[in-house]
Protein backbone atom coordinates (compact mmCIF):
# COMPACT_ATOMS: atom_id res chain seq x y z
CA UNK A 1 0.00 0.00 0.00
CA UNK A 2 0.92 3.61 0.00
CA UNK A 3 1.61 3.89 3.72
CA UNK A 4 4.93 5.29 4.78
CA UNK A 5 7.34 3.71 7.16
CA UNK A 6 6.14 4.90 10.51
CA UNK A 7 9.03 5.26 12.83
CA UNK A 8 6.69 6.81 15.32
CA UNK A 9 6.02 3.84 17.51
CA UNK A 10 7.00 3.82 21.14
CA UNK A 11 9.02 6.54 22.91
CA UNK A 12 7.61 10.04 23.42
CA UNK A 13 4.69 8.76 25.43
CA UNK A 14 2.67 11.90 26.15
CA UNK A 15 2.11 12.80 22.49
CA UNK A 16 -1.24 14.44 21.81
CA UNK A 17 -0.53 15.40 18.21
CA UNK A 18 1.52 14.31 15.24
CA UNK A 19 3.51 16.79 13.19
CA UNK A 20 3.75 15.65 9.59
CA UNK A 21 6.52 16.90 7.32
CA UNK A 22 5.84 17.03 3.60
CA UNK A 23 9.35 16.55 2.25
CA UNK A 24 8.29 17.39 -1.27
CA UNK A 25 7.54 20.95 -0.07
CA UNK A 26 10.14 21.58 2.65
CA UNK A 27 13.12 23.68 1.55
CA UNK A 28 15.21 23.06 4.63
CA UNK A 29 15.80 26.64 5.71
CA UNK A 30 14.88 25.64 9.22
CA UNK A 31 12.34 28.13 10.56
CA UNK A 32 10.49 25.26 12.24
CA UNK A 33 13.61 24.04 13.96
CA UNK A 34 13.91 27.41 15.67
CA UNK A 35 10.30 27.41 16.80
CA UNK A 36 10.46 23.81 17.95
CA UNK A 37 14.03 23.67 19.19
CA UNK A 38 13.30 21.01 21.79
CA UNK A 39 11.62 18.77 19.25
CA UNK A 40 13.39 19.28 15.97
CA UNK A 41 17.05 19.30 15.07
CA UNK A 42 18.55 20.13 11.71
CA UNK A 43 20.38 17.52 9.70
CA UNK A 44 23.61 18.42 7.93
CA UNK A 45 21.67 19.83 4.97
CA UNK A 46 19.33 21.90 7.14
CA UNK A 47 16.23 19.73 7.02
CA UNK A 48 14.22 19.20 10.20
CA UNK A 49 14.92 15.99 12.04
CA UNK A 50 13.56 14.46 15.22
CA UNK A 51 15.88 11.72 16.35
CA UNK A 52 14.26 8.32 15.85
CA UNK A 53 11.36 9.64 13.79
CA UNK A 54 10.70 10.05 10.11
CA UNK A 55 7.94 12.08 8.46
CA UNK A 56 5.63 11.99 11.48
CA UNK A 57 6.86 13.44 14.74
CA UNK A 58 4.91 13.06 17.98
CA UNK A 59 4.13 16.35 19.73
CA UNK A 60 3.31 16.65 23.45
CA UNK A 61 0.65 18.97 24.91
CA UNK A 62 3.37 21.38 26.07
CA UNK A 63 4.75 21.65 22.53
CA UNK A 64 1.40 21.91 20.81
CA UNK A 65 1.17 25.68 20.67
CA UNK A 66 4.64 26.07 19.21
CA UNK A 67 3.81 23.34 16.72
CA UNK A 68 0.73 25.25 15.52
CA UNK A 69 2.93 28.31 15.11
CA UNK A 70 5.38 26.32 13.02
CA UNK A 71 2.54 25.04 10.84
CA UNK A 72 1.28 28.59 10.32
CA UNK A 73 4.68 30.15 9.71
CA UNK A 74 6.34 27.50 7.54
CA UNK A 75 6.95 29.39 4.30
CA UNK A 76 6.39 26.28 2.21
CA UNK A 77 3.29 24.99 3.98
CA UNK A 78 5.20 21.78 4.46
CA UNK A 79 3.92 21.10 7.97
CA UNK A 80 0.60 19.76 9.18
CA UNK A 81 -0.56 18.85 12.65
CA UNK A 82 -3.22 16.37 13.53
CA UNK A 83 -4.49 14.79 16.71
CA UNK A 84 -2.58 11.65 17.59
CA UNK A 85 -4.71 8.52 17.57
CA UNK A 86 -5.77 7.65 21.11
CA UNK A 87 -4.94 4.33 22.63
Amino acid sequence: MSGQTRLTTGARAAATHTLHIDWTACDGRGLCTELLAGLLDRDEWGYPRALGYGSDVPVSAAEEEAAWDAVALCPRQALSLRAAPRG
Binding site: M1, S2, G3, Q4, T5, R6, L7, H20, I21, D22, W23, T24, A25, C26, D27, G28, D43, E44, W45, G46, Y47, R49, Y53, G54, S55, S80, R82
Partner: protein
Protein backbone atom coordinates in the same frame (compact mmCIF):
# COMPACT_ATOMS: atom_id res chain seq x y z
CA UNK B 1 -17.99 -16.76 6.82
CA UNK B 2 -16.48 -19.02 4.21
CA UNK B 3 -18.29 -19.54 0.96
CA UNK B 4 -17.63 -23.01 -0.39
CA UNK B 5 -20.25 -22.34 -3.04
CA UNK B 6 -18.25 -19.75 -4.95
CA UNK B 7 -16.74 -22.07 -7.50
CA UNK B 8 -19.83 -24.26 -7.71
CA UNK B 9 -21.91 -21.20 -8.45
CA UNK B 10 -19.64 -19.75 -11.07
CA UNK B 11 -18.33 -22.75 -12.97
CA UNK B 12 -20.18 -24.87 -15.46
CA UNK B 13 -19.51 -28.57 -15.96
CA UNK B 14 -18.37 -27.91 -19.51
CA UNK B 15 -15.61 -25.52 -18.39
CA UNK B 16 -12.03 -26.77 -18.80
CA UNK B 17 -10.44 -28.26 -15.65
CA UNK B 18 -8.33 -26.11 -13.32
CA UNK B 19 -4.63 -26.04 -14.16
CA UNK B 20 -2.65 -28.67 -12.25
CA UNK B 21 0.89 -28.21 -10.98
CA UNK B 22 2.76 -24.93 -10.82
CA UNK B 23 2.05 -23.81 -14.36
CA UNK B 24 -0.92 -21.58 -13.67
CA UNK B 25 -0.47 -18.03 -14.88
CA UNK B 26 1.23 -19.23 -18.03
CA UNK B 27 -1.02 -22.29 -18.52
CA UNK B 28 -2.64 -20.95 -21.71
CA UNK B 29 0.69 -21.15 -23.52
CA UNK B 30 -0.13 -18.26 -25.88
CA UNK B 31 -1.36 -14.71 -25.32
CA UNK B 32 -4.45 -14.74 -27.56
CA UNK B 33 -8.05 -14.92 -26.40
CA UNK B 34 -8.73 -18.33 -27.98
CA UNK B 35 -5.96 -20.01 -25.97
CA UNK B 36 -7.04 -18.14 -22.86
CA UNK B 37 -10.68 -19.19 -23.19
CA UNK B 38 -9.79 -22.79 -24.02
CA UNK B 39 -7.60 -23.02 -20.93
CA UNK B 40 -9.52 -21.04 -18.33
CA UNK B 41 -13.09 -20.91 -19.64
CA UNK B 42 -15.27 -17.81 -19.49
CA UNK B 43 -14.91 -14.92 -17.05
CA UNK B 44 -16.94 -15.78 -13.93
CA UNK B 45 -19.31 -13.30 -12.31
CA UNK B 46 -19.05 -14.02 -8.60
CA UNK B 47 -20.96 -12.24 -5.88
CA UNK B 48 -18.73 -9.40 -4.56
CA UNK B 49 -18.79 -10.44 -0.91
CA UNK B 50 -18.18 -14.08 -1.81
CA UNK B 51 -15.18 -13.12 -3.91
CA UNK B 52 -13.60 -11.16 -1.06
CA UNK B 53 -14.15 -14.13 1.29
CA UNK B 54 -12.57 -16.47 -1.20
CA UNK B 55 -9.54 -14.22 -1.76
CA UNK B 56 -9.13 -13.99 2.01
CA UNK B 57 -9.36 -17.76 2.39
CA UNK B 58 -6.82 -18.14 -0.42
CA UNK B 59 -4.33 -15.95 1.44
CA UNK B 60 -3.43 -14.07 -1.73
CA UNK B 61 -0.87 -11.37 -0.95
CA UNK B 62 0.09 -8.46 -3.19
CA UNK B 63 2.84 -9.30 -5.67
CA UNK B 64 4.14 -5.79 -6.25
CA UNK B 65 6.52 -5.97 -3.31
CA UNK B 66 4.66 -5.02 -0.16
CA UNK B 67 2.77 -8.33 0.19
CA UNK B 68 -0.32 -6.63 1.60
CA UNK B 69 -3.32 -9.01 1.81
CA UNK B 70 -5.25 -8.53 -1.44
CA UNK B 71 -8.69 -9.03 0.12
CA UNK B 72 -8.19 -6.24 2.62
CA UNK B 73 -7.67 -3.59 -0.01
CA UNK B 74 -10.71 -4.82 -1.96
CA UNK B 75 -12.82 -4.88 1.20
CA UNK B 76 -11.88 -1.35 2.19
CA UNK B 77 -12.57 -0.09 -1.33
CA UNK B 78 -15.90 -1.95 -1.22
CA UNK B 79 -16.91 0.06 1.83
CA UNK B 80 -16.68 3.13 -0.37
CA UNK B 81 -18.69 1.61 -3.21
CA UNK B 82 -22.09 3.18 -3.62
CA UNK B 83 -21.03 6.47 -2.06
CA UNK B 84 -20.99 9.55 -4.24
CA UNK B 85 -17.39 8.97 -5.25
CA UNK B 86 -17.18 5.92 -7.45
CA UNK B 87 -14.14 3.72 -6.92
CA UNK B 88 -11.28 3.69 -9.42
CA UNK B 89 -9.28 0.50 -10.02
CA UNK B 90 -5.73 0.55 -11.35
CA UNK B 91 -3.69 -2.45 -12.47
CA UNK B 92 -0.05 -1.57 -11.77
CA UNK B 93 2.48 -3.13 -14.11
CA UNK B 94 5.08 -0.36 -13.97
CA UNK B 95 7.90 -2.55 -12.68
CA UNK B 96 10.59 0.12 -12.43
CA UNK B 97 13.17 -2.28 -10.99
CA UNK B 98 15.83 -2.94 -13.63
CA UNK B 99 16.21 -6.51 -12.32
CA UNK B 100 12.49 -7.30 -12.65
CA UNK B 101 10.76 -8.52 -15.79
CA UNK B 102 7.91 -10.62 -14.41
CA UNK B 103 5.09 -8.10 -14.84
CA UNK B 104 6.01 -7.24 -18.42
CA UNK B 105 6.40 -10.96 -19.18
CA UNK B 106 3.01 -11.74 -17.65
CA UNK B 107 1.34 -8.98 -19.65
CA UNK B 108 2.97 -10.25 -22.82
CA UNK B 109 2.24 -13.93 -22.26
CA UNK B 110 -1.09 -13.86 -20.43
CA UNK B 111 -2.69 -10.43 -20.86
CA UNK B 112 -6.23 -11.81 -20.71
CA UNK B 113 -5.74 -13.16 -17.21
CA UNK B 114 -4.71 -9.70 -15.99
CA UNK B 115 -7.66 -8.13 -17.82
CA UNK B 116 -9.97 -10.69 -16.17
CA UNK B 117 -8.57 -9.77 -12.76
CA UNK B 118 -9.00 -6.06 -13.42
CA UNK B 119 -12.62 -6.58 -14.52
CA UNK B 120 -13.34 -8.78 -11.48
CA UNK B 121 -11.81 -6.26 -9.07
CA UNK B 122 -13.78 -3.49 -10.79
CA UNK B 123 -17.05 -5.39 -10.49
CA UNK B 124 -16.35 -6.22 -6.83
CA UNK B 125 -16.04 -2.55 -5.88
CA UNK B 126 -18.57 -1.09 -8.31
CA UNK B 127 -15.88 0.81 -10.20
CA UNK B 128 -16.71 2.92 -13.22
CA UNK B 129 -13.12 3.59 -14.24
CA UNK B 130 -10.45 0.96 -14.84
CA UNK B 131 -6.84 1.69 -15.69
CA UNK B 132 -3.91 -0.41 -16.69
CA UNK B 133 -0.51 1.22 -16.22
CA UNK B 134 2.64 -0.36 -17.57
CA UNK B 135 5.74 0.17 -19.75
CA UNK B 136 5.55 0.64 -23.51
CA UNK B 137 6.37 -2.91 -24.61
CA UNK B 138 3.84 -4.59 -22.34
CA UNK B 139 1.23 -1.95 -23.11
CA UNK B 140 1.22 -2.93 -26.77
CA UNK B 141 0.37 -6.52 -25.93
CA UNK B 142 -2.39 -5.44 -23.53
CA UNK B 143 -3.82 -3.14 -26.20
CA UNK B 144 -3.94 -6.02 -28.67
CA UNK B 145 -5.67 -8.18 -26.06
CA UNK B 146 -8.31 -5.57 -25.22
CA UNK B 147 -9.22 -5.38 -28.90
CA UNK B 148 -9.94 -9.11 -28.93
CA UNK B 149 -12.79 -8.86 -26.41
CA UNK B 150 -15.81 -6.62 -26.04
CA UNK B 151 -15.79 -6.44 -22.23
CA UNK B 152 -12.38 -4.73 -22.03
CA UNK B 153 -13.09 -1.71 -24.22
CA UNK B 154 -13.56 0.54 -21.20
CA UNK B 155 -10.11 -0.12 -19.75
CA UNK B 156 -7.92 2.96 -20.07
CA UNK B 157 -4.30 2.14 -20.89
CA UNK B 158 -1.57 4.42 -19.58
CA UNK B 159 2.13 4.18 -20.26
CA UNK B 160 4.52 4.07 -17.31
CA UNK B 161 7.86 5.83 -17.83
CA UNK B 162 11.03 3.83 -17.45
CA UNK B 163 12.16 4.96 -13.99
CA UNK B 164 12.81 3.12 -10.75
CA UNK B 165 9.98 4.73 -8.78
CA UNK B 166 7.35 4.87 -11.54
CA UNK B 167 5.46 2.04 -9.83
CA UNK B 168 5.29 3.62 -6.38
CA UNK B 169 1.61 3.98 -5.51
CA UNK B 170 1.39 7.77 -5.33
CA UNK B 171 3.64 8.08 -8.40
CA UNK B 172 1.18 5.90 -10.33
CA UNK B 173 -1.71 8.18 -9.36
CA UNK B 174 0.33 11.29 -10.13
CA UNK B 175 1.32 9.90 -13.52
CA UNK B 176 -2.25 9.06 -14.53
CA UNK B 177 -3.52 12.45 -13.32
CA UNK B 178 -0.77 14.74 -14.46
CA UNK B 179 1.66 12.71 -16.54
CA UNK B 180 4.43 12.98 -13.94
CA UNK B 181 5.40 9.66 -12.38
CA UNK B 182 6.84 11.05 -9.16
CA UNK B 183 5.57 10.31 -5.66
CA UNK B 184 3.45 12.74 -3.70
CA UNK B 185 3.16 13.40 -0.03
CA UNK B 186 0.22 11.41 1.30
CA UNK B 187 -1.30 11.03 4.71
CA UNK B 188 -4.39 8.95 3.87
CA UNK B 189 -4.81 5.59 2.21
CA UNK B 190 -5.49 5.42 -1.51
CA UNK B 191 -8.66 3.44 -0.83
CA UNK B 192 -9.89 6.59 0.96
CA UNK B 193 -8.52 9.19 -1.43
CA UNK B 194 -6.55 8.39 -4.56
CA UNK B 195 -7.01 9.34 -8.20
CA UNK B 196 -8.55 12.84 -8.31
CA UNK B 197 -9.49 12.35 -4.66
CA UNK B 198 -11.59 9.30 -5.38
CA UNK B 199 -11.25 6.01 -3.52
CA UNK B 200 -8.71 3.99 -5.49
CA UNK B 201 -7.89 0.31 -5.54
CA UNK B 202 -4.37 -0.27 -6.84
CA UNK B 203 -3.20 -3.82 -7.44
CA UNK B 204 -0.09 -5.22 -9.04
CA UNK B 205 -0.88 -7.00 -12.32
CA UNK B 206 0.32 -10.39 -11.05
CA UNK B 207 -2.01 -10.05 -8.05
CA UNK B 208 -4.88 -9.40 -10.48
CA UNK B 209 -4.01 -12.48 -12.55
CA UNK B 210 -4.10 -14.65 -9.41
CA UNK B 211 -7.40 -13.03 -8.48
CA UNK B 212 -8.81 -14.16 -11.82
CA UNK B 213 -7.79 -17.73 -10.98
CA UNK B 214 -9.11 -17.67 -7.41
CA UNK B 215 -12.46 -16.40 -8.75
CA UNK B 216 -12.60 -19.42 -11.04
CA UNK B 217 -11.15 -22.26 -8.98
CA UNK B 218 -11.43 -21.12 -5.37
CA UNK B 219 -9.21 -20.86 -2.32
CA UNK B 220 -8.57 -24.59 -1.81
CA UNK B 221 -7.26 -24.95 -5.33
CA UNK B 222 -5.09 -21.85 -4.85
CA UNK B 223 -3.58 -23.25 -1.66
CA UNK B 224 -3.00 -26.71 -3.15
CA UNK B 225 0.37 -25.40 -4.36
CA UNK B 226 2.86 -23.44 -2.26
CA UNK B 227 3.46 -23.30 1.47
CA UNK B 228 1.34 -22.15 4.40
CA UNK B 229 3.03 -18.73 4.52
CA UNK B 230 3.32 -18.39 0.75
CA UNK B 231 0.27 -20.10 -0.77
CA UNK B 232 -0.13 -20.40 -4.53
CA UNK B 233 2.46 -19.86 -7.19
CA UNK B 234 4.47 -16.72 -7.79
CA UNK B 235 6.58 -15.25 -10.51
CA UNK B 236 10.31 -14.76 -10.06
CA UNK B 237 12.80 -12.87 -12.17
CA UNK B 238 16.21 -14.54 -12.07
CA UNK B 239 19.31 -12.91 -13.50
CA UNK B 240 21.15 -15.25 -15.87
CA UNK B 241 24.39 -14.54 -17.74
CA UNK B 242 22.38 -13.77 -20.89
CA UNK B 243 19.71 -11.61 -19.30
CA UNK B 244 16.63 -11.90 -17.11
CA UNK B 245 14.55 -15.07 -16.96
CA UNK B 246 11.01 -15.23 -15.58
CA UNK B 247 9.68 -18.40 -13.97
CA UNK B 248 6.51 -19.40 -12.17
CA UNK B 249 7.18 -21.48 -9.06
CA UNK B 250 5.41 -22.68 -5.94
CA UNK B 251 5.40 -20.10 -3.15
CA UNK B 252 7.95 -20.86 -0.43
CA UNK B 253 10.50 -22.64 -2.64
CA UNK B 254 14.09 -22.07 -1.59
CA UNK B 255 16.27 -19.44 -3.20
CA UNK B 256 18.47 -22.18 -4.70
CA UNK B 257 15.45 -24.03 -6.13
CA UNK B 258 14.01 -20.90 -7.73
CA UNK B 259 17.36 -20.06 -9.31
CA UNK B 260 17.75 -23.66 -10.57
CA UNK B 261 14.23 -23.66 -12.02
CA UNK B 262 15.34 -20.74 -14.17
CA UNK B 263 18.14 -22.92 -15.53
CA UNK B 264 20.85 -21.12 -13.58
CA UNK B 265 23.29 -22.94 -11.28
CA UNK B 266 23.10 -21.40 -7.81
CA UNK B 267 26.53 -22.85 -6.96
CA UNK B 268 28.01 -20.20 -9.21
CA UNK B 269 26.95 -17.48 -6.76
CA UNK B 270 28.63 -16.22 -3.62
CA UNK B 271 25.43 -14.37 -2.66
CA UNK B 272 21.99 -13.58 -4.06
CA UNK B 273 20.27 -10.23 -3.79
CA UNK B 274 16.69 -11.10 -2.87
CA UNK B 275 13.86 -8.65 -3.43
CA UNK B 276 15.63 -6.31 -5.81
CA UNK B 277 17.55 -3.10 -5.26
CA UNK B 278 15.56 -2.33 -2.12
CA UNK B 279 16.13 -5.87 -0.87
CA UNK B 280 18.88 -7.69 0.97
CA UNK B 281 21.83 -9.99 0.22
CA UNK B 282 21.70 -13.64 1.20
CA UNK B 283 25.08 -15.43 1.29
CA UNK B 284 25.59 -18.73 -0.49
CA UNK B 285 25.48 -20.79 2.73
CA UNK B 286 21.86 -19.66 3.22
CA UNK B 287 20.50 -20.24 -0.29
CA UNK B 288 18.50 -23.21 1.04
CA UNK B 289 16.25 -20.75 2.89
CA UNK B 290 12.63 -20.72 1.70
CA UNK B 291 11.45 -17.55 -0.02
CA UNK B 292 9.18 -16.44 2.82
CA UNK B 293 9.19 -13.23 4.81
CA UNK B 294 9.96 -15.07 8.03
CA UNK B 295 12.94 -16.98 6.73
CA UNK B 296 14.51 -13.93 5.10
CA UNK B 297 13.84 -11.34 7.75
CA UNK B 298 17.26 -11.62 9.38
CA UNK B 299 18.88 -10.63 6.08
CA UNK B 300 16.70 -7.57 5.68
CA UNK B 301 15.18 -9.31 2.66
CA UNK B 302 11.71 -10.49 1.63
CA UNK B 303 10.34 -12.25 -1.46
CA UNK B 304 9.00 -8.82 -2.47
CA UNK B 305 8.38 -8.69 -6.19
CA UNK B 306 10.31 -11.95 -6.70
CA UNK B 307 13.66 -10.63 -7.84
CA UNK B 308 16.71 -12.90 -7.50
CA UNK B 309 20.02 -11.42 -8.61
CA UNK B 310 23.03 -13.66 -8.12
CA UNK B 311 26.53 -12.34 -7.53
CA UNK B 312 28.96 -14.60 -9.45
CA UNK B 313 31.71 -16.20 -7.35
CA UNK B 314 34.82 -14.10 -7.77
CA UNK B 315 33.02 -10.77 -8.14
CA UNK B 316 33.40 -8.17 -5.43
CA UNK B 317 30.10 -7.65 -3.56
CA UNK B 318 31.08 -4.16 -2.47
CA UNK B 319 31.77 -3.06 -6.03
CA UNK B 320 28.44 -4.45 -7.24
CA UNK B 321 26.59 -2.85 -4.32
CA UNK B 322 28.25 0.54 -4.81
CA UNK B 323 27.17 0.53 -8.44
CA UNK B 324 23.57 -0.22 -7.40
CA UNK B 325 23.70 2.49 -4.71
CA UNK B 326 24.82 5.03 -7.30
CA UNK B 327 21.98 3.99 -9.57
CA UNK B 328 19.49 4.32 -6.70
CA UNK B 329 20.81 7.78 -5.85
CA UNK B 330 20.33 8.79 -9.48
CA UNK B 331 16.71 7.63 -9.32
CA UNK B 332 15.67 9.95 -6.50
CA UNK B 333 12.73 12.04 -7.72
CA UNK B 334 14.69 15.02 -6.37
CA UNK B 335 11.86 16.33 -4.27
CA UNK B 336 12.79 15.55 -0.68
CA UNK B 337 15.88 17.11 0.89
CA UNK B 338 17.17 14.14 2.87
CA UNK B 339 16.77 11.86 -0.18
CA UNK B 340 18.23 14.31 -2.71
CA UNK B 341 21.25 15.06 -0.52
CA UNK B 342 21.63 11.87 1.47
CA UNK B 343 21.44 9.17 -1.20
CA UNK B 344 24.29 10.50 -3.36
CA UNK B 345 26.45 10.90 -0.27
CA UNK B 346 25.60 7.40 0.91
CA UNK B 347 26.49 6.03 -2.52
CA UNK B 348 29.75 7.95 -2.61
CA UNK B 349 30.92 6.71 0.79
CA UNK B 350 30.11 3.12 -0.24
CA UNK B 351 31.97 3.71 -3.50
CA UNK B 352 35.04 4.91 -1.60
CA UNK B 353 34.91 1.73 0.47
CA UNK B 354 34.48 -0.41 -2.64
CA UNK B 355 37.34 1.26 -4.47
CA UNK B 356 39.76 0.43 -1.69
CA UNK B 357 40.08 3.69 0.21
CA UNK B 358 41.66 2.60 3.50
CA UNK B 359 39.68 4.82 5.84
CA UNK B 360 38.46 2.80 8.84
CA UNK B 361 35.69 5.34 9.47
CA UNK B 362 33.86 4.54 6.22
CA UNK B 363 31.57 1.71 7.43
CA UNK B 364 30.38 3.83 10.37
CA UNK B 365 29.75 6.73 8.00
CA UNK B 366 27.63 4.49 5.77
CA UNK B 367 25.58 3.45 8.81
CA UNK B 368 25.19 7.03 9.99
CA UNK B 369 23.94 8.25 6.61
CA UNK B 370 21.60 5.28 6.28
CA UNK B 371 20.11 6.26 9.62
CA UNK B 372 19.67 9.89 8.59
CA UNK B 373 17.75 9.18 5.38
CA UNK B 374 15.54 6.39 6.72
CA UNK B 375 11.88 7.40 7.00
CA UNK B 376 12.60 10.91 5.75
CA UNK B 377 11.11 10.98 2.28
CA UNK B 378 7.67 11.08 0.77
CA UNK B 379 8.14 7.56 -0.53
CA UNK B 380 10.05 4.45 0.54
CA UNK B 381 13.01 5.11 -1.73
CA UNK B 382 15.39 6.35 0.98
CA UNK B 383 14.29 3.55 3.36
CA UNK B 384 14.80 0.86 0.74
CA UNK B 385 18.15 2.27 -0.31
CA UNK B 386 19.34 2.43 3.31
CA UNK B 387 18.20 -1.14 3.90
CA UNK B 388 20.08 -2.36 0.84
CA UNK B 389 23.28 -0.57 1.84
CA UNK B 390 23.13 -1.84 5.43
CA UNK B 391 22.55 -5.37 4.16
CA UNK B 392 25.67 -4.96 2.02
CA UNK B 393 27.80 -4.14 5.08
CA UNK B 394 26.44 -7.18 6.92
CA UNK B 395 26.60 -9.72 4.10
CA UNK B 396 30.03 -8.61 2.92
CA UNK B 397 31.58 -7.88 6.31
CA UNK B 398 34.69 -9.89 5.43
CA UNK B 399 35.06 -7.96 2.18
CA UNK B 400 34.79 -4.70 4.12
CA UNK B 401 37.59 -5.85 6.39
CA UNK B 402 39.73 -6.93 3.45
CA UNK B 403 39.22 -3.63 1.62
CA UNK B 404 40.20 -1.66 4.71
CA UNK B 405 43.31 -3.83 4.99
CA UNK B 406 44.20 -3.03 1.40
CA UNK B 407 43.10 -6.06 -0.60
CA UNK B 408 39.96 -7.47 -2.22
CA UNK B 409 38.43 -10.95 -1.84
CA UNK B 410 36.82 -10.75 -5.28
CA UNK B 411 39.43 -12.59 -7.32
CA UNK B 412 38.02 -11.46 -10.62
CA UNK B 413 37.67 -7.85 -9.61
Amino acid sequence: MSTPTLTAATRAVTDPPAPAGTRRLFAAGAPDLAHHAATFGPLPHPDSAALVDEVQAAGLAGRGGAAFPAWRKIASAQKRAGTRDRVVVIGNGAEGEPMSAKDATLLQRAPHLVIDGLLLAGAAVGATELYLYTGAAALASVRAATLERSDARGIVLREAPDSFISGEASAVIHSIEKGRAIPRDHVVRLTTSGLRGRPTLLHNVETLAHLALVARYGADWFRSVGSREEPGTRLFTVRAPDGLRVIEAAGGVSIAEAVSLAGVDPRGFSAVLVGGYHGGWVRSEHLGRPLTREALQEFGAAPGAGILMGLPVGSCGLTAAAQIARYLASQSARQCGPCVNGLPELASVLTRLASGRRDPGLPAEVRRLAGIVTGRGSCHHPDGTARFVLSTLTAFADDVEAHLAGHCLGGAA
